[in-house]
Amino acid sequence: MSLEEPEPSTQLDVGVSEDGLNYDQLEALLGDSVIGRESHVNAEGFVIRPDDVQDVLSTLKTEAGFDFCSCVTAQEYQDRYESIYHLKKYDDPTQEVSVVVPSPRDDPHNQTAQPVYETAAWHEREAYDLVGIDYDEHPDLRRILLPETWQGHPLSMDYNQDKPQIVPLREHANPLQDDMQSPDDPDTMFVNIGPHHPATHGVLHVKTTLDGEQIADIEPDIGYLHRCEEQMCQQGTYRHQIMPYPDRWDYVSAGILNEWAYARAAEDLADIDVPEYAQIIRTMSAELCRIASHALAMGTFALDVFGDFTATFQYAFRDREVVQNILEDLTGQRLMFNYLRLGGVAWDLPEPREEFFAKIRDFLDELPGKLEEYHDLVTGNEIFQMRCVDTGVLPAEDVKDFGATGPVARGSGVDYDLRRDDPYGYYDELDWDVVTEDGCDNFSRVLVRLREIEESAKIIEQCVDLLEEWPEDDREIQANVPRTLRPDPDTEIYRAVEGAKGELGIYIRSDGTDKPARFKIRSPCFSNLHTLATMSEGEYIPDMIASLGSLDIVLGEVDR
């Protein structure tokens, strides 16, 4: 049953009470480390000293059970830099706490959180890259999104956008040129897999050191599709100008899921209630997007394991096309939907409604047969099982350490789904299940996606039932929202939804104007991709490619 409360863990429950977290007890646990308190909309924030980061975080992790570092937000104020660690629990993501680490403006640096949460390694690299905070003792503090030669930190206040990026010729040499074999180990060979490669699912560059056919060392190099999405959102007004951007993060088909992430954060920030009818439409369209996205994930994974242009890939595209058509009827667009609005949706279901419902029902009726076909063709195939079972193994501990979410986490038996654990929309009124598999391998991740398509179909069916019977005079699609939205100054919120790939979170800080002062995107693909190295070291190249496919990354969302 989906609505069961997840059991709170028995030992690590400092501050857990009936009516939410008791932050005073948590503060007592941390003792003198806390030098201040902040109140964010989603959780309380403890302000700590920059050299206390590891102590505080490991106390929270080992004694209070905050095993999930969802996001690290860095930003610059007039008087200080600040890193915020957004912590959650995999058992119950509604128990949140923020750890706020201020550091001086003239020499911004604080301790790294990497030894406590591995996922912080990449988040802190991004913070260093874009905002310019140094993290002491970080094992590998390099730029992650921008080129190594970039000068300045684009999200810091004194960054001059007009300054040309002049790079000396010696540093401007072909970045892929440096592919000599390692002098310490002449038996290995360095190969650049990507950024132009048939199986990297976009412009991903994987620096690979091979020992024969096996992978000795691997390092994903991202940022080729970095489009300053965070900064663009900071330059748009809340009400209308930000909503088109989320469609362009996970651009393959998950548009409405992404839009919902922004809608949820902004609505909670500005205290907007969404009418029930609109919530049902949102839920239905979001799940349609999830089906489209999972169908694509399955098809491209088949591409990686079967070879180019095989039956599975084309079947997946054929079936995704049906969903795409339904979404086009609803939103007027195939991929860049721009359908959600703060406080509701853009417009009601298309007329004639019966025809639209019939179309969805036809799709749902055909779906079980199609899934059966996929199971015959893909998961039931012995060679496929030979290739995917026990390859790309990602144990549950690693999932938590790397902050992986979505089907990747659920394929490793981590029962975590925000739709159930931190309900939003209409999910808690509907009957559906969270799918998990215990295999921790490529095969489990494929199975999870295929089974999630069934669950999404269940949700859509219930939504269609509700929408069909909804009284005509009560079809309220939009709450009353001021024309210009100006949330109170210095309100901060971090809110996440279950995107197609996992937890898609948005951090917004308002400064009293109609545009956010800081807009931070927590991309599920970013954290999921971080696990690639642990999954593939020692494996064969084909398994690395398969693991990459099973992570189902979209570079638009990784790089933002």
Binding site: V191, P198, F306, T310, Q314, L377, N381, P542
Partner: protein, 351 residues
Amino acid sequence: MQSETPLPDTLANLLGLDPSNPLVLFVMAIVASGVIASGLLALVAVSGIWGKRKITAAFTDRVAVNRHGPAGILIIPADALRLLSKELIIPEGVDRPAWDLGPLIMVFSALAGFAVIPMGNGVQIADPETGLAYVFAMASVASIGLVMAGYSSNNKYSFLGGLRAVAQNLAYEIPLILTGMSVVLFAGTLRMSGIVTAQSATLFSLGPVAIPSWYAFVNPFAFVLFMVANLAEVGRNPFDIPEAPTEIVAGWQTEYSSVYFVLAYLSEFIHIFLGGAIIATIFLGGPAGPVLPGIVWFLIKIVGVYLFTQWARSAIPRVRIDQLIEIGWKGMLVLSFVNLLLTAVIVGVIA
């Protein structure tokens, strides 16, 4: 049905020349080879450029080419022109003679294999006593071309592809030939026409229909073994590991463009047809078949094998290189030895 005289002799007789004159025979052999090679290339053009797309499209629920001519058939000249007019890019640092020779060796070794195949209606260039050994040898020469292409391309993906090709061919050549040997044990000859003749006897009769003693019926186990080994030999799913587009870009052919790419691509198809021709000859009675002329039956059989490879290509996942080596050395090799031994015992007992 099977003509006793090879094609060059027939041609010489037709022109009223004396076939016992070596010069005449030499010229006629060249003419005959030209005719057969042109026929094969035409077959490749139809099946490789147009047929493959239509077949794959049918498997994957698409339409494929349909703009030029009836059912898009005119895409063949259009594509030929397109491919030949592309720029030939020669990457820096390629090992020139080897890099140029690779694709040529692949194409010509496969074409040369057809010299001894009896295609029915007297279409056979030569019929030496060692026919089957020759055809296997020619089919294997292509591996040298693959290694040359992979090694000389100065590209790591090509290099990996070339190495994979060698490993794969070693693992599959032996079971392939051992299985072929079991047929030789039955037929008692390596001569291709002899093998075909040996299959013309009636195995048993189903009422009025006489089932011939094709070795696919006599020894289905060997037939299946040979079909699988042949998939690996021609590098089609589940064994398209030397190319493996999603893993190592295009393997040994990564750096080839324009005409060289055409040659590489051609050689793949001719290899598939050569594999089909070997299967048709030693397992499916060569050109034998009712009503239609022999050469038509022969073509039907090769195209049948080709369709099988395309089916596998569309529906079966690719195995990993280490799994392939294991299947080859631990599975196929053992099975083909068992097959050879059993055949020897059976043939010995019957004789």
